[in-house]
């Protein structure tokens, strides 16, 4: 297990000043307020549609945080992270529908399968420099689309897989209302935030950032480049597959395009890209902004009879971020406000 670095060896927290401490405290308090606000939604006069929208945001934040680990911290551009989402969803769904295995267990099988696929993908591509890893992830996505279409009996083919519905059931991890999913997804976001924070402050995190900045220099500093990339990919794949279990239980269905399609892969990347790559807060802020804008524009689009406006909004957001805030909201806009705080 990778050890956490001593304070004196870390960068941003090496010499904590009172100002940095104050900012860190402030960031923690804002986070706590947001957490409590979200947790209290079911007790406020808020309808289920709003709660469901928040759940969607939290699920995408979790998935975005998982992608952030490999791409933001590790610098490995995975364009086909939907592979791990799809494996998580399909495994949970197939085990439940066909074998009666509850999602509580099925999700771990999905995580193990994702780890195996990541191991194979990584073994083949991570020793190469350049775009090979990115291309391999796209190729894997395309292959998975075909595989999931081919095995109709298991996956439902092009029509997809719908979970058998048992109503409110702890055993089946199902609910008629979105409130239970709100707490589950909030737990995921909190856990993934702490995992990301831990990675950033650990020896593994330092190694991953070194490899991201310069592979040759990292090797010259003694970093085992291949091992570091592989560890980052495995952690991210497992995180994605576990969050996919929640995705499946909430949406109750999955199809090849929703799992492995390019638009899904892009959606997984948006929270971190918009919020700030390689930061723990980035995907949280990016995911919240993304879903909020998408819901508002969808609502506006419905009023004027135009559908699919959210995709257009995602594209525009990405364009604005690339042009005006390439380090994302946390990296560019909130840089000064969060300076010294653990981003």
């Amino acid at each position: 297990m990778e050890a956490a670095l001593p304070e004196s060896a870390r960068g941003g927290v090496a010499k904590p000043s009172s100002e940095a401490d104050a900012r860190r405290r402030r960031a923690f308090i804002y986070g706590l307020i947001a957490f409590l606000l979200v947790a209290s939604l079911p007790f406020l006069p808020v309808n289920n549609y709003i709660i469901a929208a928040v759940v969607r945001a939290l699920i995408f934040i979790s998935l975005g945080q998982a992608w952030n680990v490999v791409a933001g911290i590790g610098g490995l551009l995975s364009l086909g992270h939907g592979v791990f989402l799809g494996i998580g969803c399909y495994t949970t769904g197939i085990l439940f529908n066909q074998y009666g295995i509850p999602p509580w267990l099925g999700v771990w099988v999905g995580a193990v399968l994702s780890l195996l696929v990541a191991l194979v993908m990584g073994s083949m591509t991570l020793r190469m420099r350049g775009v090979f890893f990115a291309l391999a992830t796209v190729a894997a996505s395309l292959a998975m689309v075909q595989i999931s279409r081919h095995f109709v009996d298991l996956t439902g083919g092009a029509d997809g897989l719908a979970l058998k519905f048992f109503g409110n059931s702890w055993w089946a991890a199902q609910s008629r209302t979105p409130a239970p999913f709100l707490y589950a997804s909030l737990a995921f976001v909190t856990l993934y935030y702490w995992i990301t924070r831990w990675i950033l402050n650990s020896k593994l995190g330092l190694e991953m950032q070194a490899v991201r900045d310069d592979e040759v220099a990292a090797a010259a500093a003694g970093v085992a480049v291949f091992r570091t990339k592989m560890l980052g990919l495995l952690v991210s794949a497992a995180m994605t597959a576990l969050a996919a279990g929640l995705y499946m239980q909430f949406y109750m269905a999955i199809d090849p395009e929703a799992a492995f399609g390019l638009s899904q892969a892009i959606q997984l990347q948006l929270p971190a890209l918009i919020g700030g790559l390689g930061t723990a807060w980035g995907p949280i802020i990016g995911g919240a902004v993304m879903i909020f804008l998408s819901e508002v524009t969808n609502w506006g689009g419905t009023k004027i009879g135009v559908s699919g406006v959210d995709i257009l909004v995602y594209g525009l957001m990405l364009l604005v971020v690339v042009l005006y805030a390439p380090k994302g909201i946390v990296g560019s806009v909130l840089r000064n406000a969060m300076k010294g705080a653990d981003r």
């Binding site: 304070e7 060896a9 960068g11 900045d213 310069d214 040759v216 220099a217 090797a219 085992a224």
Partner: protein, 247 residues
């Protein structure tokens, strides 16, 4: 008294890139504690040799031994952990990290068991006169400081052989002199063997005990600065005239 151990032995190294011969039958050795200069005109093969010794490029033939151990096929990160350290011709720092983190990366990989990581990082910062720059990022530093960070990162943790690739180029006369002092201090205080690739022979002559001259992909001279400066083959092939060489 025993002679110092051979820190680095390069034996019959060859390297071809397609039809281009970058190195041909290159042989030399460096003893522990020595400061050796590696010179040669552009295209002589110095950088390729550096890359081969540090493990980034595999040779087409020949072998490299480090303190008697064949390391020709050893991965570069394992060479570094064994104490074979290097800098780059164009400074390569981790730009998203602070100076302290840059040094921490190497120290955390290479520090022998029982030694304190934080203390080692602080020692390196003090030794390279970087204490006040510790929380800055490389983009905020002068070229001289960036080079010092790179050397600090190179020696952090465990270093027995330091290979400097044109670390003095681009520096003012004063900056270069300061850096030479620091390198010589590392050689004396830490007993680090040093190999320096440079173009400025007059600077090297005052610094190194031996010079190895590469020309047209092979070694044409190996001796003290004075011997090399008077070597007719070197004068004809590389230096032009003795006066020009030592000016």
């Amino acid at each position: 008294m025993n002679a110092p151990a051979v820190a680095l032995e390069v034996r019959n190294i060859a390297r071809n890139f397609g039809g281009v011969v970058a190195l041909r039958d290159v042989t030399f050795s460096v003893r522990e504690g020595e400061v050796v200069g590696l010179i040669g005109p552009n295209g002589a093969g110095k950088s390729t040799l550096f890359e081969i010794v540090s493990g980034n490029i595999r040779p087409s033939g020949g072998r490299v031994a480090y303190f008697g151990r064949d390391c020709t096929t050893m991965a570069s990160h394992l060479r570094r952990r064994a104490g074979m350290c290097r800098t780059f011709q164009k400074v390569r720092l981790f730009e998203s990290m602070t100076v302290r983190q840059n040094i921490s990366v190497a120290a955390s990989q290479c520090l022998p068991k029982g030694r304190d990581l934080g203390e080692e990082v602080n020692n390196i910062l003090a030794q390279m006169r970087l204490e006040h720059q510790a929380e800055r990022r490389p983009s905020e530093l002068t070229l001289a400081d960036r080079k010092r960070v790179e050397i600090g990162r190179a020696i952090a943790g465990h270093c027995r052989l330091l290979m400097l690739d044109e670390s003095l180029s681009g520096l003012t006369h004063d900056e270069a002199e300061h850096l030479i002092d620091e390198i010589m201090q590392l050689n004396r205080a830490r007993g680090i063997t040093v190999i320096v690739v440079e173009h400025v022979l007059s600077v090297l002559a005052a610094m190194v005990q031996r010079l190895v001259v590469l020309h047209n992909a092979t070694v044409i001279a190996d001796g003290t600065p004075s011997e090399v400066a008077h070597d007719p083959v070197v004068i004809e092939a590389y230096l032009g005239t003795k006066q020009k060489a030592l000016r």
